[in-house]
């Protein structure tokens, strides 16, 4: 088993939200970079679980999100 050493490798291997955030941080930090998402009535049906009988909640997103990094305290 080899350790991922680059942000690119890490972001490909994300399996949880914290891991995704760490990958995003690695990509953005130190570059003064910002990532922006613009949603225009984006609709997502979010399942309540993984089974066949899972219910789906309807999520709709409209607007913008800008993400930058902060210094570790």
């Amino acid at each position: 088993m080899a350790d991922a050493s680059t942000p690119e490798e890490r972001i490909d291997e994300t399996t949880t939200w914290p891991e995704l955030a760490i990958g995003l941080y690695d990509r953005l930090t130190g570059r003064g970079a910002e990532i922006s998402y613009q949603f225009e009535e984006m609709e997502v049906h979010v399942p309540s679980g993984t089974g066949e009988d899972a219910e789906h909640a309807e999520w709709r997103l409209d607007g913008t999100v800008h993400i930058t990094t902060r210094e570790r305290e």
Binding site: R10, W17, P18, E19, I22, Y25, T64, T69
Partner: protein, 139 residues
């Protein structure tokens, strides 16, 4: 198989710095099963503003199983806090600044902090709004 060299922050360990502190700016509207919330941000704190308690509860019911735990882990990793408000009253806090107590454990929403005073204030504000609406109808 590759694995991560960075580890997510422990949800219970507030003494260690977050491994990936982020700053978020939003101008966003979110609707979950028809319940609308505006999302504003102060950088480290996301403010979800619901119109009513039923809207907030409908949004909570639209979360996937384990959603609160995943969200909390993400917020601790990124040193972010989400604050849910109803009628300008803070009813719940999740993430870095949340301090869940007995009420949260009783309601089984731990690690989300429930603000009882805020909930009662929101209920009172909704009751007052309902009375005012009824008065307008009858006058």
């Amino acid at each position: 198989m590759a694995r991560f060299t960075s580890r997510p922050a422990s949800v219970n360990d507030a003494s260690e710095p977050a491994p990936a502190p982020l700053s978020v700016a939003t101008d966003l509207t979110v609707r979950v099963n028809g319940a609308e919330a505006t999302v504003e941000s102060t950088g480290e704190r996301l403010l979800l503003q619901f119109r009513s308690l039923p809207d907030a509860l409908r949004a909570v019911r639209g979360q996937p199983a384990g959603g609160a735990t995943s969200l909390t882990a993400l917020l601790h990793t990124t040193d972010l806090t989400v604050e849910a408000r109803v009628r300008d009253r803070i009813v719940a806090v999740a993430g870095a600044d949340a301090r869940p107590g007995l009420v949260s454990r009783m309601l089984e929403v731990d690690p989300v902090e429930v603000r009882v005073g805020g909930v009662l204030g929101a209920v009172g504000a909704e009751a007052a709004a309902a009375v005012a609406a009824l008065s307008r109808l009858l006058s």
